[in-house]
């Protein structure tokens, strides 16, 4: 087979855990190498994913058509009420706008859209060329806010001004402007915000149900099934519970600084981490032992029904090997544990946006011989999948065809999924999906397994 080499300048972002070998820190938090086919997106993408699920606001993309077209209704973030987030609005800048500026077009677009759709707020995303052509979107937003009486929030998400993480930050910045503007009356002392949960396939509802069963009030979910009014009063919660380490930690830190609300980091994937996320919240309210009792009851009830149903999958999957390449490193931790609970080992683990601490922890968690990558690309992923003889790849849409071409199973763990994978019931769905893909008889025809080319 052809030798696949790693690009110079990428070596430091790849690491293989080996005994007796010096363990350097993995390089990360850098922007992608020019010309390597990064699986990452851009600043705009980061902002867009964070704010997308807010369903009673309009999301207006200021720029040429592409950015809005490619993000139209692409996520499985569902709403229990309004669905404005599933519409795509763009100022669709043309050559003349590029020459003469797009401010007027933005102004008219906003006034008309607000009149037509009556949103509770508007988010205005600036794309690559907006700054270059000199549009002052802050001024336009201010003017429209004044005239329309709703918050009109600029999101400075020019694609090239950093990485996806900077986009998360720009989105959180817009959220910070809303937080603190609503009434916190009647909010219980035993209350939380759920941060970094986007209600893909209704996952936020599952999580919320567990917390409510424990007697915890959920003030706001940021941003799954999001509502502007809920965001406005998020500062009334006692604790922030942060999932998806990449996107929302910044917001949690800001809220801690400004409102004194502490935060904990959790994950809702897999039995172990899901249970821990309930216990950790309960521990935060030691004056109410009944909350911990309720958490234990939730876990025991859920696990009692889940555990036996997983055994069939575990029996079939024991000894199979997985490769994980997802957006945030925190998800990778949970997936490693979840896979182990169904008998699988992990031979490749990586993320698009993990930081130094994340990778240090990943190193600790992984078995000998596991390859760890930051901001990887199709060539590398394929190389390691083949070398390590993985049976499964977990990733997003861009990774899916790599797995299928090479003849191995795939589990979609990205924003487009339509099946909830969070919570205890999500763990069942996850195991089922992995089982269905890895155990399918179709792989017998894959060349890798001796099938006929």
């Amino acid at each position: 087979m052809e030798q696949i080499t790693i690009l110079e300048g990428r070596q430091k972002q790849i690491f293989e855990k080996k005994k007796g070998v010096a363990q350097p820190d993995i390089a990360c938090d850098t922007s992608s190498l020019s010309g390597s086919v990064s699986q990452r997106a851009c600043v705009f993408c980061g902002s867009r994913v964070v704010l997308y699920p807010i369903a009673d606001a309009i999301h207006v993309v200021h720029g040429p058509i592409g950015c809005a077209a490619y993000t139209w209704d692409i996520r499985g973030a569902v709403s229990s009420g309004p669905e404005l987030h599933r519409l795509s609005f763009s100022t669709d800048l043309q050559e003349m706008d590029v020459i003469y500026g797009g401010e007027k077009k933005l102004y008219h677009s906003l006034i008309e859209l607000i009149e037509q759709y009556k949103p509770k707020a508007a988010f205005i995303y600036s794309t690559c060329i907006v700054g270059l052509i000199g549009d002052d979107i802050d001024a336009v937003c201010k003017k429209v806010a004044k005239e329309s009486g709703i918050p009109v929030l600029p999101v400075h998400s020019e694609g090239f001004k950093g990485t996806k993480k900077d986009g998360y930050k720009a989105a959180c910045h817009a959220l910070m402007k809303l937080i603190g503007t609503g009434s916190t009356e009647e909010i219980s002392k035993y209350s939380i915000n759920i941060l970094g949960e986007f209600n893909l396939a209704g996952e936020a509802w599952i999580i919320r149900k567990y917390y409510e069963k424990m007697g915890i009030e959920v003030v706001a979910t940021l941003t799954g099934d999001g509502r502007i009014d809920a965001v406005r009063r998020a500062h009334g919660a006692t604790l922030n519970v942060v999932q998806c380490s990449g996107s929302m930690t910044w917001l949690a830190k800001e809220m801690e600084a400004k409102y004194g609300i502490p935060y904990i980091r959790v994950s809702y994937f897999g039995i172990e981490d899901m249970s821990k996320s309930l216990y950790d919240v309960a521990k935060y309210f030691p004056d109410r032992p009944d909350i911990m009792e309720a958490a234990k009851a939730v876990v025991s009830e859920e696990v009692k029904s889940l555990y036996p149903s997983l055994q069939k999958f575990k029996k079939a999957l024991t000894g199979k090997k997985a490769a994980i390449y997802v957006g945030g490193a925190f998800k990778t931790f949970s997936l490693i544990k979840a896979l182990r609970s169904i008998g699988m080992s992990v031979v490749l683990a990586g993320s698009q946006t993990g930081d130094k601490n994340d990778y240090a922890r990943l190193k600790e968690m992984c078995d000998e011989g596991t390859v760890i990558v930051d901001d990887s690309n199709p060539v590398e992923l394929s190389k390691f999948i083949l070398e390590k003889e993985a049976d499964l790849l977990i990733g997003g849409v861009k990774e899916r065809p790599i797995a299928f071409k090479l003849g191995i199973g795939f589990c979609d763990h990205n924003h487009e999924r339509k099946i909830p994978l969070a919570g205890f019931e999500g763990m069942y769905n996850f195991a089922l999906e992995v089982y269905q893909s890895v155990m399918s008889p179709v792989w017998q025809f894959a060349p890798r397994k001796g099938g006929i080319l």
Binding site: G35, A69, W72, L132, G162
Partner: protein, 450 residues
Amino acid sequence: MKHAKTATQNACKLCNPLGACLAFRGIENCVPFLHGSQGCATYIRRYLISHYKEPIDIASSNFHEESAVFGGSHNLKIGLKNVSDQYKPEVIGVATTCLSETIGDDVPGILREYKKEFKNGSPMPILIHASTPSYQGSHIDGFHAAVRATVKTLAEKGEPQELINLFPNMVSPADLRYLKEIFSDFKAPLLLLPDYSQTMDGGPWGEYHRIPPGGTPASAIVRAGSAKASIEFGSTLEAAKSAAGYLDDAFGIPRHHLSLPIGIKESDRFFSLLETLTGHARPEKYEDERRRLVDAYADGHKYVFEKKVILYGEEDLVVAMTAFLSEIGMTPVLCASGGKSGLLKRRIKELVPEMDELGIKVREGVDFVDIEDEAKVLQPDFLIGNSKGYTMSRKNDIPLLRLGFPIHDRFGGQRMHHLGYRGTQELFDRIVNTVIEQRQNASSIGYTYM
């Protein structure tokens, strides 16, 4: 209530660079490369993958703030070097984005410099540059820009040959395979560009391929300059923007410009042209296909007669489909496109002169909210277009027949035929079945015979 409308809402088009990436994918051993932010490449990959279900690597020069201030030259060069090292491509197809166009990067100049600076390194790939600013036109313009740029870069004058160039427009991999089959049956040497029939719809891999096999070789494209004729599909595609137009200007190769051959009349026109150019009668196989299609028209005509349809998509597809629907007695009450060539109505009128009497309305530069507003008034029996019409289809309870690109909510869009007698047959069967299914579902009796 009618609202004033400045913003584009639920766009019925995509941006320029997407088309260029797809076209470059139809050249053998070619890596598409976007000169702009990382997001453009990633979004476009995602969008294409969801339709074609194939890996598609698109490199990016990955602009940073400094590149936007001082120009993207440095990033572009490093990017080209890295792609050359990692993919070892024969060709790199560089398309610009709104960002690199707005800051005014002189891409041809940078490519020249690159070739000079790295000429003693590893083998130098052929560099093709297409200018595809997203603030102009739509994805289809990027597609044609890339095809034209490819021919412009590679085609050379040579000894005249029997070769026929075919520039098929943005059609499906299945269509491309059918076109190749036709030429092979005519025993006519063919240069098909682009040809992503295998790269975007190929087999499994025993080992990793940096670049999937398939596509038109650069060495073959060189000979486009000595072909005896070019055929180009797409009625709104103007010579000044097209590959065949360039070859006509530069080498005097006659350009035969046809609508996408959908329906019997337009397919006949295509086959007649092939007969003229090759001097061979059409093989019996295609007579058979045509006969079966005429027979199917007879068998199915009552289901479709005077059914009202809203058609949308790329302008050339809309023109061709309008011609086809008219010949089977259906009425496209609205022919709509997000594209804005200024030619849509004129081209439809040329193929369907009685369009006004038939009540065919044409609108360019519209989005799905415009189309939905029209649908509420026009009350069509169904919609024909890509997957993105599903939102309005569901909301207004109007069935959607999917074709073209993208098909993100059904399986096998890349294997769908549209062109020639075979493609028309497939479309006709699907249209009739859509009507039958609708009737069957609406019937309280539940007939098993329809």
